[in-house]
Symmetry: C2
Subunit: 319 residues, 2 copies
């Protein structure tokens, strides 16, 4: 692993990625990683690709690119109630990519490995005539039968979210110069996801996923998977102070914008206390923003006046 | 998974990749795969990237690209003595990639999934402004403590290879118009690796890897990992009839060219019978081509006259 189709300069890669490797990686010196799965647990696996010019800009800080790549995958594990183990990664980069780019990319990964207690299991590096192309496969584990799925919500279950909603999308507006951000909070939320690793939702949430494509669109996924309708009360939405300050004009962005990486959970009424306890234990706020009911899959959002909102994108529909 | 940053046309992806998904993939409709690891087994994981213009040509047959992507990873598992389970994959493709490309790519994967008893566990698709970029992470399993590593060869162990050596590199010469190939055997060997899945080397080989970068270079890796010297007898090399026919001028290519995807194994003398039995059980030829001895890591190749060969590339050296 981390054999390379590139010549000498890519020996540097081993230098940068070697320190990230955990015991299972065998020093990145073998052809495969060797992992003893946690006894009596099931494995949760997910993978995401990130391409320069699509998911990040070529001149974005390399450490943030590395951290975002790891964090979007950690967020998926968190939404499934899984405890992270480690990851494998491929890095395709142009031949003229400076050594410093790899050093800073690896430094970002190293920082988040420590924060989230994961290690690099293995990888592959190669040259590409195109933009930097990254792919990261992450492994986690859950107790048997407890992985939180998209399907499983029941009529009457509450719709819960962690943290605050909309900061990621407003942060993009800030990056595009469309919104002021005196505290820098919104831009920071957009640039670096905060995966909700450590919130013990297994056995608590009846369904769940992370919010990466916007609350309404992702709630629509839960509705379709569980064959239920959902109703969201905008007055219940947890908003950060800068999001509150942005004002009512930004409500559609808050509801339909992406990059929140908060968790979206279905929780039966009799497990709300368990969720609140789990949230206290993890030091993460949770808020009930609506409920599921029987009906054709779709999301209805009630505005401040109690009437359904019409959203141009990702809004009320029966799919 | 297989959420996409691309619009409508990529709903087609789910259509192409959906049929590849096994039970653990949850129909590709969740955010993660859920895998029950085989009880009492250890997991072996490896990942490889393939980029158009680097690892394959943009107009190569898409089914062969898919099959090669899967097979190079299966070959790594085979070299570790691991039984394949399944794989996760990312596909980054230009927006104008025709639907038929994906159909044929997936058809190639489907064919090999059946041949090698693996299923798709999950994936991610995305657009890219660059060439097609593929990444595949594969999982396998072994009995505890039996993964065949690069390190572990002992002085006196025999050096064994499966199948025939050099056909891949000669096939490349055929593709470049430098060599005739009346039977098409060499070109086929170059185009489509035949991973040695099913050869039961766990507990038999003291060290091993697959030959992807040429016999001499990869044997050098084993030497370094095991801190031993190796001696290869060219008169013992198993050559296909077309490789024999190519003649002595092609011996350096046979020794140092890549793309064989045969296994390179270290086997203690008292386990040779076990290896031969495993080879019979799997219907795969194995041949002893040399031995390890104490000494500075390096590969000596004896030519037909018994004298050490001097190879321009990947030859005798102490690294």
């Amino acid at each position: 692993m981390f054999d390379s189709s590139l010549p000498a300069e890519f020996a540097l890669i081993a230098r940068h990625f070697g320190p990230l490797a955990g015991p299972a990686a065998l020093g990145l010196g073998d052809d495969a990683a060797l992992l003893v799965p946690p006894p009596g647990r099931e494995l949760v696996l997910t993978v995401d690709a990130m391409i320069a010019g699509v998911h990040f800009l070529p001149d974005d800080p390399p450490d943030l690119i590395g951290r975002k790549l790891l964090r979007v995958n950690l967020s998926d594990l968190a939404a499934k109630g899984a405890t992270p183990i480690g990851y494998l990664m491929t890095v395709a980069a142009p031949r003229d990519t400076p050594d410093g780019w790899f050093a800073r990319f690896a430094a970002g990964l190293a920082q988040d490995q420590q924060e989230y207690a994961v290690t690099l299991l293995g990888g592959d590096t190669t040259s590409t005539p195109g933009p930097i192309a990254l792919s990261l496969t992450i492994l986690g584990h859950v107790a048997p039968g407890t992985m939180v799925r998209r399907a499983g919500a029941q009529p009457g279950d509450g719709i819960w979210v962690t943290g605050t909603i909309g900061d990621g999308a407003l942060g993009l507006a800030v990056a595009l110069g469309k919104l002021a951000d005196p505290t820098g909070h919104l831009l920071q939320r957009y640039r670096l996801p905060q995966p909700r690793v450590g919130l013990a939702i297994a056995g608590v949430a009846s369904a769940g996923m992370d919010i990466s494509d916007g609350l309404v669109q992702d709630l629509g996924h839960l509705c379709r998977a569980s064959n239920l309708a959902a109703e969201v009360d905008t007055t219940a939405l947890p908003l950060s102070p800068p999001a509150q300050k942005a004002g009512a004009d930004w409500l559609p962005t808050i509801l339909t914008g992406g990059d929140d990486y908060e968790l979206l959970l279905s929780v039966p009424p009799d497990r709300e206390a368990a969720l609140r306890q789990a949230a206290r234990d993890a030091g993460m706020p949770v808020t009930r923003v609506g409920s599921f009911r029987a009906g054709p899959p779709g999301v209805m959002v009630r505005g401040p006046n109690g009437k359904p909102l019409s959203l141009a994108r990702g809004g009320w529909s029966h799919f």
